[in-house]
């Protein structure tokens, strides 16, 4: 049954992709890309990757759509008709595809348990998560403890990207957002009504991430999304009275610092980097505390980076 649902969703995904390739209006492309992200999130749920699905829905359909539309506002949304015949790209893409499909013959069949990817290190993580840390969500334990070096690297990449965007797009004429949205009483009331619940849900996703899908990455994106929503209705100027740009910029390195410092505490006790056992007297508590601190660092960095990216694009409009 799962396999059939999976196949139907994947077919829809292929159709949407084909439409994205053919569509010439970039605004439609962006909206279709949001549809694509939601479909991809559904596929991820069918494939049991609930944490990934939550992230893809919040990031792919939320933040990237906002950033893409922000860019289209600056650059205009019509794609020019290509001047040359697109024969060579089609041949190249088709040849690459043929070689790759030939290569899939050696890949494991769908849904098999006894293939190398599922027998190598994953059973260890699944068995040791509760005895070592008492955290049932294995994705969280791998993210924040078993492979926390990876996550530190990823957080640093987000930090660097945010830094790059702020350097590229900083200070330009600021302008009030369109008055239509701000004047409309429906938007004002409803947005004020639901923003607290969005933030509450973000914190639920963050703090309940040990027991259910969620964690710092997803919660950070949702928090930033709440402020972005406020900014869309009331204007970036109003939103910056709530969260000033300087505060957002200050929080980006703060999160990375919290993450790295949590790992460095163990140095004082003569242990390896990212060994949390120094944080509390019982190893299980120590591991749990370490996970919470690291998720906090991720939350701060992701939320403030996403917000800074949005501010940078909004400030640039003229």
């Amino acid at each position: 049954m799962e396999a059939y649902i999976n196949m139907v969703l994947l077919t829809l995904l292929a159709i949407v992709t084909l439409t994205i390739v053919r569509q010439r209006n970039l605004f439609s492309v962006v909206v279709l890309f949001g549809v694509y992200s939601f479909l991809m999130a559904s596929v991820m749920i069918v494939l049991d990757a609930v944490d990934v699905a939550l992230t893809e829905a919040a990031v792919g359909a939320g933040i990237s759509t906002v950033v893409l539309i922000g860019t289209l506002h600056i650059t205009g949304s019509e794609e020019m008709r290509p001047s040359r015949l697109a024969l060579l790209p089609i041949v190249t893409a088709a040849a690459t595809g043929a070689i790759l499909i030939w290569g899939t013959y050696d890949l494991p069949e769908f849904g098999k348990a006894d293939v190398p990817i599922n027998t190598h290190v994953a059973p260890f993580y699944l068995e040791q998560s509760i005895p070592l840390m008492g955290v049932p969500n294995v994705v969280t334990t791998i993210l924040a403890n078993f492979r926390s070096f990876d996550t530190l690297g990823e957080t640093t990449v987000i930090f660097t990207a945010g830094l790059g965007i702020m350097l590229l797009l900083r200070h330009k004429s600021r302008k009030e957002a369109s008055k239509i949205l701000k004047k409309d009483v429906v938007f004002r009331v409803i947005i004020k009504l639901i923003i607290p619940f969005i933030m509450l849900f973000a914190f639920y996703v963050h703090f309940h991430g040990d027991y259910s899908p969620g964690g710092g990455f997803q919660a950070g994106v949702m928090l930033a999304g709440a402020v972005i929503l406020y900014s869309i209705i009331f204007g970036a100027h109003e939103a910056q009275r709530v969260v000033p740009q300087s505060v957002a910029a200050f929080m980006i390195p703060l999160g990375v610092l919290i993450y790295a410092a949590t790992g460095a505490i163990s140095f004082i006790y003569g242990q390896n980097y990212m060994d949390y056992t120094a944080l509390a007297s019982y190893p299980k508590d120590a591991h749990h505390l370490g996970i919470i601190l690291i998720e906090l660092g991720v939350l701060i960095t992701v939320a403030s980076t996403m917000l800074s990216i949005f501010y940078a694009f909004v400030e640039r409009r003229h």
Binding site: I180, D184, F187, I190, L193
Partner: protein, 132 residues
């Protein structure tokens, strides 16, 4: 033994009821999707889509809530329903506002009548299809 069989009957009833609601919800979602494609302009299309957001999603979530029973999951589904209840009309309102400010005006029946009279037979067929 009799207690066990009555419990079985209850579970069967729950399954049948929730299944029927989920099927009905799916039906309304498909109707809304067909309407989205077949309707002539933005405003009537929004009208068709509102079926998905209200009765389609409502029936689907109710069916799932019955299936979940009195658990935390049912409460979460109820929250999703409340979220839909508040956001779906606002989203529709936003699209309508955007369409109006972009200069899109609702297509009135007078416009369509004159269009049908002037149009070629192929177009009039198309319009009849949209009325279905």
């Amino acid at each position: 033994m009799s207690q066990a069989s009555s419990l079985d009957l209850l579970y069967l009833m729950i399954d049948v009821l929730s299944g029927a609601m989920i099927l009905a919800g799916s039906f309304f979602i498909i109707v809304g999707a067909i309407g989205l494609i077949r309707m002539p302009d933005v405003f009537t299309r929004m009208h068709a889509v509102s079926v998905i957001e209200t009765i389609g999603a409502g029936l689907l979530l109710s069916g799932l809530m019955i299936q979940a029973g009195p658990t935390l999951l049912a409460l979460k589904l109820f929250f999703v329903f409340v979220l839909f209840f508040f956001t779906a009309p606002v989203a529709t309102h936003a699209v309508a506002q955007a369409a109006l400010s972009a200069g899109e005006t609702p297509q009135l029946s007078e416009d369509r009548r004159s269009k049908t009279a002037a149009a070629t037979p192929v177009n009039s067929n198309d319009n009849e299809g949209a009325d279905d």
